[in-house]
Amino acid sequence: MEWITLTIDGRTVTVPKGTTVLEACRMNDIKIPTLCHDPELTPAGSCRLCVVEIEGMRNLPPSCVTQATQGMVVSTHNKKVREARKTILELLVANHPLDCMTCQKMGDCSLAEYAYEYEVTGSVFQGEKRQLPLDDSNPFILRDPNKCILCGKCVRVCEEIQGKSVLDFSFRGFNTQVGPAFNVPYSESECVFCGSCVAVCPVGALTEKEMKGKGRPWEVEKVQTTCPFCGTGCNFDLNVKDGKVIGVTSNPEAPVNGRHLCVKGRFGIDMVHSPNRITEPLIKKDGEFVPASWDEALDLVASKLGAAKDNYGADAIAILSSARCTNEENFLMQKLARAVIGTNNIDHCART
């Protein structure tokens, strides 16, 4: 690998050739604020918060899309740079609802974090703010376009990772928005509610509807687990508050899926505490399901299966297993079919 040496804030650092200035800074624990940058997505260079000063370059180049070169001299926190970042944050805040107290994103909002760090007052620019209707059209994602900072991460994740391209920019200037084509609500678009847009949104523009009002980030314990919905083996974090699962957030460290999930994994976990969930065996007696003990239920199944086998032969019985079971459970199920019942009629819902 070819290495280059450059100077950042007076420090000489050596990084692999092809590294951006932002990466070079982060490799060396130099903090640079970013809103639109995401290592998984095509660099957009649009929020302009990561600007730095580089000797010999005009203006303030964005570090996320500027290649580090041999001998480059970079200042990341001088007055000019900090003032520029502060102004950019003031501009964003000037067009952002300041209802942070009730915002679901509070405690996890990049804009709030940087506004705090750069001592943004919110009073420098006072003028028009967007007044756009909320998209509350679906059970999963709450979209507040007034909170959108137009970083475009949702647009890129939808196009580049999910391959759906549901979202794009529309209108120009101050009226620029992000949304599905023709500005239809999510529910009327081609959206499959994978929620990747929610996972990458740095502010409260896209939030998990089910989690609204249920817990703050600092109150929540994150428990990494494997999704039970299918056999893919996606990992995510259960958000647990007071012993109760309030929702799911994706975990960038998840080995199979990273931050990306499907609608079931991300938004289907409310079944855990659903009152409709069956918690004990039920036996239909006189046309109605009646709670029973496990012994009673298993005896009934064994006797009915035994009767079926006796009357019609083992191949009259077929067993269909589920992708939501573990490998071990599925193994046992086929043992039951082949060794106990004596049939090869064993199949699985995810086989086709």
Partner: protein
């Protein structure tokens, strides 16, 4: 032979399918493959007819059909002329010819009689019979239709005798207004495609690039990047497929030079692109033309079709092995698509939003292939360089800005129109000598140069030479070449507000400083023009302008603050008068005006009250008139109407 494009005899075998390397030269100097005096004479006869030389047997009547004259009825003038000629049985004696723009749009519809160079202005249908009878038949000029020099009061006998044209150096515009842009043979007659023929037959691609480098040509789109150097980037880039693009998305308010070149001489752009494509190794090109230019698009499409028919576009051009196909792509109305990465996104069918660089278009441009993009005027300079050589070209202009530049003169000056002058001419010469100075004897205040990206230059800087580098130092830029002249009645804060309103609306919305910053600048400027400016506004405005300039993603945002910064630099006192004194020194900001009637001077005639559009003036024969300031809309009609100076504007 009926047309220059016809084969002179059966020995000529050139077609698009069976190309001949000498075709271009053959048309005007031929025949080359065989020696035949009669063939040669035939060609020369047709050539003279097209060129309307003094030796030509036919007089030609030229009608400007550029957008300006066409919208004033030029096409009906042509029909009328043709029927009038028929009436006199003269349809074979005189020819009529629709042409592109003459540039002197103020005087349209324009009719020119060649070879006499007679220049008729403001021609109406009623004038046509007189032109036929007096000029064409009797050979006398129709004096009353001639251009009158406002300073000397004299009639100009030829267009070259008018101050507007005399000081110009029309190289790029040479054909505009003189040839029929819808007939390729007229372009051939003016040595058209000879630059390309020279490049492809006598030069290697690298030699072509060297020639362009040597000429000193710099991009006419605004930034002034050296064209030859730009070509060499795309030439050196690795790739089996390369593109050339012509940026015809001219969108600056008040700019129309590219439109005129496209409408008046479309083949010069095609020839330039052919040369560029050959030099960098591209086989496909796009002309991205804004949809608001339907006539330019139509003429480009005609020109491309004609070039294809004679084998100058397509496969194996002039039997050289070089192939090039060209398409026209109409834009969808976004100003930002003049930025080349946004333009390419738009051609690809995406939303026109600029992309970060690198990768540069020369490495990864259209559909991720090496691409070279130049604007209309740059491309149309190229054939001249190849035709006459780099040294010839470099004689025009200054040391670092070579050649000529077309400017669109608009605003409060006498001669609005399109002018072409050598780089380095002073603004004063352009505005006062060619442009005829400020209208109605008013005082000059400023000239906005370079459109929304440029700046306002005050009177004391008018002797600056117009070239790429000097203007940038002065806080403006050549830009695409729009010159908007402002007089003493123009409020400079309002001018800045106007341009910010434009850039804010046209911002693509991608980057924060441009999207949000221009909005806040616009709000501050609007506030100031309404007399609601605050003391801290100037500091906030200036700081914000610098951040937007320093941190925006593309040229639109980086230059959007220029009108603010330049007016703050040269006209700060006007801002201060609005904020501190709540006054607009130019009396242009209506919120800061008040009208009243001086009772002592009022003669009680009632003229003001009768003309007031909102009936807010009351009084009678015995009572002096009074203005109800609550209802007054500050239109100024009463001030204009009062003969006694009783209406006071403060």
């Amino acid at each position: 032979m009926k047309s220059l494009l016809d084969p002179c005899c059966e020995r000529c075998t050139h077609t698009a399918q069976t190309p001949c390397k000498d075709y271009v030269r053959c048309l005007t100097e031929g025949p080359i493959c065989h020696d035949d005096e009669q063939c040669k004479a035939e060609r020369q006869r047709l050539l003279a007819e097209i060129k309307t030389e003094k030796t030509s047997a036919k007089k030609a009547v030229l009608f400007c059909t550029g957008t300006g004259c066409a919208s004033s009825g030029a096409h009906s003038l042509i029909d009328l002329m043709e029927s009038e000629l028929k009436k006199h049985g003269l349809e074979n004696t005189f020819t009529t010819r629709p042409t592109g723009c003459h540039g002197f749009c103020e005087q349209g519809p324009i009719v020119i009689v060649e070879p006499d160079q007679t220049f008729y202005t403001h021609v109406t249908p009623e004038d046509i019979p007189e032109i036929v009878e007096k000029d064409l038949i009797q050979g006398e000029r129709v004096e009353r239709l001639l251009y009158v020099d406002p300073t000397s009061g004299e009639h100009a006998t030829t267009y070259n005798n008018t101050p507007f044209y005399a000081k110009q150096n029309r190289i790029i515009l040479h054909n505009c207004g003189h040839i029929n842009p819808e007939r390729i043979e007229e372009y051939f007659a003016q040595d058209g495609y000879k630059g390309f023929a020279r490049a492809i037959q006598e030069m290697q691609p690298l030699e072509v690039i060297e020639e362009v480098k040597k000429s000193g040509l710099r991009g006419r789109g605004g930034a002034g990047f050296p064209t030859g150097l730009k070509w060499s980037f795309a030439q050196q880039a690795e790739g089996d497929k390369k593109y050339v693009i012509c940026n015809a998305d001219e969108g600056d308010p008040g700019a129309f030079m590219d439109r005129s070149v496209l409408e008046g001489d479309p083949h010069s752009v095609i020839e330039g692109m052919l040369i560029g494509a050959y030099a960098i190794g591209a086989d496909e090109g796009y002309i991205y033309c804004r949809a608001e230019y339907p006539l330019a698009i139509k003429r480009l499409e005609i020109a491309i079709k004609q070039a294809q028919e004679v084998g100058l576009l397509g496969e194996n051009i002039l039997n050289s092995g070089f192939s090039f196909n060209l398409h026209v792509k109409a834009g969808a109305g976004a100003f930002v698509c003049g930025e080349e990465t946004a333009l390419m996104a738009s051609i690809e069918g995406n939303r026109g939003m600029p992309k970060v660089r690198p990768p540069f278009p020369a490495q990864k441009g259209l559909w991720a292939k090496p691409t070279n993009n130049n604007n209309v005027e740059t491309w149309s300079n190229v054939p001249h360089i190849l035709r006459h050589g780099a040294d010839w070209y470099a004689q025009y202009g200054t040391e670092k800005s070579k050649g000529t530049k077309i400017f669109a003169l608009t605003g409060k000056l006498n001669n609005t129109g399109l002018v072409e002058v050598p780089m380095g001419m002073s603004l004063r010469e352009i505005i006062f000598d060619i442009g005829g100075g400020v209208q109605n004897g008013k005082k000059f205040k400023a000239v906005q140069i370079g459109g929304p990206s440029g700046g306002c230059i005050p009177e004391e800087m008018l002797d600056l030479p117009v070239d790429f580098d000097t203007l940038v130092q002065a806080g403006a830029m050549v830009g695409s070449g729009g010159l908007v002249i402002m007089d003493e009645d123009t409020c400079m804060v309002d001018v800045a507000r106007f341009f910010l309103n434009f850039t804010q609306k046209e911002s693509c919305g991608k980057c924060t400083p441009c999207r949000e910053g221009t909005k806040r600048m616009l709000e501050i400027l609007t506030r100031i023009t309404k007399g609601e400016g605050k003391e801290e506004d100037l500091v906030t405005l200036e700081n914000l302008a610098h951040v937007v300039k320093n941190t925006s993603l593309c040229g639109l945002g980086q230059t959007a603050p220029n009108p603010v910064l330049a007016t703050l630099k040269y006209f700060r006192h006007e801002y201060e008068a609005h904020i501190y004194d709540k006054q607009c020194p130019a009396h242009a900001c209506s919120a800061l005006l008040s009208y009243s009637i001086d009772a002592d001077k009022c003669k009680k005639c009632g003229l003001c009250a009768r003309n007031c559009p909102v009936s807010c003036i009351s009084g009678d024969k015995n009572t002096p008139y009074q203005i109800n300031t609550e209802a007054c809309i500050k239109c100024g009609t009463c001030l204009d109407k009062c003969k006694f100076g009783a209406v006071v504007r403060a």
